[in-house]
Symmetry: none
Subunit: 221 residues, 2 copies
DNA sequence: AGCATCGTTAATGCAGCCTTAATCAAGCCT
DNA sequence: AGGCTTGATTAAGGCTGCATTAACGATGCT
């Protein structure tokens, strides 16, 4: 699950990135509207977190322009402003949700997942599939009721597979949702993580489609 | 099913080729407009994927010229441009569909199949024939509701036969849709794949027309 | 600062797929 | 009927891609 964070304040940006990554999300961060625009035209994200106070351009006008160009991604806006008219203007510019600074980090996570859920057409936060249960907001997984401890990568991998609901994901697609644009990898690390997941969850939950990729085995459903 | 990919960026080209091949399509890749024009006049394809940003000529003007010369193939255009007027211009030049970079690979596959469907005059992605069911977008086959695991070649072979809707396909025609121009084969490999398919699906689904080729047995329909 | 955990790399081994080739069966022709 | 041609069948070999393991490096925590 890949998130673009547009935030010029290093401290805030770092905090958000660290927190989201710990929950298995992949975060790319940029500091200006120009950078945001450039990277959005090159990389596919699931959601954008946009701070309105940017150095080179007002976030609102950036958002408006992106929407006019046809960008359909969910956007969560961060702002220090509080006036009702700002909020209305933001929503008209195309924001999907709002968060006032200073915000509670847990609330950010909750709203982010709400947006992702809405975009995926699901309504519940917790994904259950057979004996497996995933709470993406807390980053917790259980199998047959027993909690299973997954690392960051394992969590991201499992979330991506579950999110695809049984469709086949190629290795490249999985890499895209596991790694940010500045941290591409060269090795078979993904294979290793698959291996670890199978060891923790059982070998038959993740199927290999030779020459194609991997898929989550949904059983008969 | 044979696809021509016109894309000068090695990285993108390689990714697309690998993904499409894994789904049983045969992909030939060229990097310039001149090469594209040359090979289109020599080899028969089902669909063309055309990147507008080529080194030697603008893809749009290539497309326009090809259409003027009577080329009727479906063309899926890849472009970084996003303005509405570009889109309109592209469609007037003869594009059948549009995909903005960056694109989701699943979406590319879906649109490609949509184009192929449109060209074939059918409306459903999933081909059902008697007890057999083929989902080309997922590369999955089932017989009487039970999933059947097919390898890459077997899948491509079955898709070609089904796509011909009971018409006879010669061995050379089948080879053309199984192998790209850079990987012709010398042996009876095709016979072997036919054999494997019959073993997995039953012997009567694929008929041999001696001295001519093979056809899919459509039963009474 | 030291420890522990996680992630990546790299090497090795295994398995599946594709092709080849050899042999067998079945039509077709004279 | 016999030979010839074409396709069917089967087994073997090589290649490719994946699984597995171990070790090293990075990162974070106490």
């Amino acid at each position: 699950m890949r998130v673009l964070l547009v935030e010029d304040d290093d401290l805030i940006a770092h905090g958000i990135q660290a927190g989201l990554r710990a929950r298995g999300l992949t975060v790319d961060g940029v500091k200006t509207a120009a950078q945001a625009e450039a990277i959005l035209s090159a990389v596919h994200y699931q959601v954008v977190i946009l701070d309105l106070g940017l150095p080179d351009e007002d976030g609102m006008s950036l958002l408006q322009r992106l929407r006019a160009d046809g960008m359909a991604l969910p956007v969560l806006v961060l702002t220090a402003r509080d006036a009702v008219e700002d909020r209305v203007a933001g929503l008209r510019a195309g924001a999907d949700d709002y968060l006032l600074k200073p915000f509670d980090f847990d609330e950010l996570v909750a709203r982010l997942h709400a947006l992702l859920r809405r975009a995926a057409g699901r309504s519940v936060a917790i994904i259950e599939q057979g004996a497996l249960r995933l709470d993406p907001e807390r980053g917790q997984v259980s199998l047959n009721g027993h909690p299973v401890v997954l690392s960051r990568r394992e969590l991201a991998l499992l979330a991506a597979l579950l999110h695809a609901r049984g469709r086949i994901l190629s290795v490249d697609q999985l890499k895209d949702s596991l790694y940010g644009f500045s941290e591409e990898i060269e090795s078979n690390a993904l294979n290793v993580h698959i291996h670890h997941l199978r060891r923790k969850l059982g070998a038959d939950l993740i199927e290999t489609i030779r020459g194609v990729g991997y898929r989550f085995n949904m059983g008969d459903t």
